[in-house]
Symmetry: C2
């Protein structure tokens, strides 16, 4: 349904209709020019040959320094999505399962199903402010559970898991012999401080990337911090699949790391303005939602809404949103990605509110 | 062993030793500057966002035009290696098998094993000029065979499958209900005309890419021509794994296609000079080999040679080659990639000949 909406929105645009697109997590802001220039310089210097399947040494060293780990723990990947797919592929056998708090990013579910693993969802609700109930999570784990996937800040709710709950989940995982895969792609640009899995030692898996915090979505570069043996297995899988992230892209990312804080601060500031604007419009509507802890999403609810029907009808009004069903069993919700400017956010959300049944 | 040699060669270089590296299929020639400039222009124009998992429309259209197929048959992939892995992943179930004439590119074997499929090798020999014996190939096929992988021109022998044999193999596959996956990455720069799987209709699979024929190894861009239903399955797998090839890379490749013939002619001419130089040095040695039909490799034999031992010892003399065992059961062979200039080819091969036992 996510792809159907996206394609229909593009079709309408091609027919000349002006669309306000809240449907994709791809910010409108351009990649910082210093990253583009560094990538170009690297291309001209011949960084266009096969590169290491582990990632360029300089980039791995810098990431290791940032996270306080060894270079051997860092593997650069063709986007964080490839990292997640390859981890599920390497760690889960057919019939084994992974536990994921829902609502959740669609790709976890599709990847797990594709490799024949079972995915078990822990339902969260707006009414309890999207909190993870650690006791209920524990009850989902059995002897076939290999992984728990956390995503804080979360897509689609933009909520951060509080420190106490995060700690409880890590303890439960440890006691059950289950690994935590923590997808932290929105962490650097979060409005509130988000706990990292690395705060709890080196047994678990950090997956993150440059897409969101360096505005590099289409560049396809992410990385993991994992224990060395698993790093070796991921590198070997890269060797027979994606080979490497183009070296010139890695030099672009390395340049971005030089101004990591400044770039993240800029993104955070701009998206805070947008989140506040969206909040002020939606607060006047009958939609209920939780204030976002991070960019880019709002995940409001309207009791009784059929969000798939609503999202399709809304396209004709020139607004695209993602139905809640794309993120689990959340038919009464829509996901609004604030990836357009403030003026368009106000205009688009007013149209959306008018269209509510 | 291929990676061990490669890493030792790099270690020695880092220690200040001058190495002549014949061990990797990564040509020393730079990516044509018009491709670099086109990629840079695309970056600056904001082609840095998520792109289609099928490939950019303009690139797919141009590839469809070149191959005389529909756009729906073309899928752009993160290198031809990812195309091969994803095809094996989608088409082979655990316990099913794929038939591959050997010697063969290492990745076919590693990918098939990684997904739990069986790989059956058809042995070819230097003594019969590396010909595929179609009858023996047929005998390897059973009711669990899903694919035959052809690679003409071949890595590591640089031999082209003759038209009659190619046609026989396609007929056998058809009669047995088996699909042919034809990896044609060296085809555009071949010294002799190589038959394409597309010459035999649209039932089979073409895999190729920009790495070799546009000197874009590190850019990770390839593509397939497949029937529409399989294209759709590959696109869906891309959506949950690699997402897309960066759009700016695709615009670089599209620029390359404008001077496709000129670029291929240049590469072919330069590598013909290198192949002739190598031929003249090796002809004076006790090595036996077949004259290459295409860049970049020679695959000579020395009776009784332990090529792994030889390759490791040769590193100390400043020359890196790949042992034949990396390409199947070919212990008496070494693969020499002519990816250095003519002068170095002569110097390196003379050192190699001197070191022969």
């Amino acid at each position: 349904m996510l792809y159907e909406i996206s394609e229909k929105a593009i079709q309408l645009e091609n027919q000349g209709k002006e669309m306000i697109k809240f449907n994709l997590g791809d910010p409108d802001l351009p990649t910082p020019p210093e990253i583009v220039e560094a990538a170009y310089e690297a291309m001209k210097q011949g960084k266009t040959k096969y590169s290491s399947a582990a990632g360029e040494k300089k980039l791995r060293e810098e990431l290791a320094r940032i996270h306080g780990v060894s270079v051997d723990n860092v593997v650069v990947t063709t986007g964080s999505k490839w990292a997640i797919f390859s981890l599920l592929f390497l760690l889960l056998k057919r019939g084994e399962n992974v536990v994921v708090p829902s609502p959740h990013w669609t790709s976890y579910e599709l990847a797990a199903k594709k490799i024949g693993a079972e995915i078990r969802f822990l339902r969260r609700d707006l009414e309890s402010d999207w909190k993870v109930d650690a006791e209920k999570l524990e009850a989902l784990i059995d002897d076939k559970t290999r992984l728990i996937i956390l995503n804080s800040p979360n897509n689609p709710t933009s909520k951060v898991i509080d420190d106490k709950t995060f700690s409880e989940i890590v303890q439960i995982a440890k006691s059950k012999g289950v690994t935590v895969l923590s997808d932290e792609v929105y962490s650097d640009i979060s409005f509130v401080k988000a706990k990292s899995i690395l705060d709890f030692g080196a047994d678990n898996i950090l997956v993150t990337g440059f897409s969101k915090s360096f505005l590099m979505t289409g560049w396809r570069i992410g990385y993991v911090v994992v224990e060395k043996e698993l790093a070796t297995r991921m590198i070997k899988l890269n060797q027979i699949t994606t080979t490497c992230v183009p070296a010139f892209i890695q030099y672009g990312a390395l340049k971005g790391l030089e101004s990591r804080k400044k770039i993240a601060d800029d993104i955070r500031r701009q998206f805070k303005v947008r989140a506040d604007a969206a909040y002020s419009v939606l607060s006047k509507s009958k939609m209920r939602f939780s204030r976002p802890d991070a960019p880019f999403y709002l995940f409001p609810k309207v009791d009784g809404l059929d969000s798939e029907r609503f999202a399709l009808d809304l396209l004709d009004k020139g607004v695209a949103v993602a139905p809640g069903t794309a993120f689990g069993d959340y038919r009464e919700y829509v996901r609004i990605a604030l990836t357009v400017n403030e003026e368009k956010i106000r205009e688009g959300l007013e149209k959306l509110c008018e269209a509510l049944p």
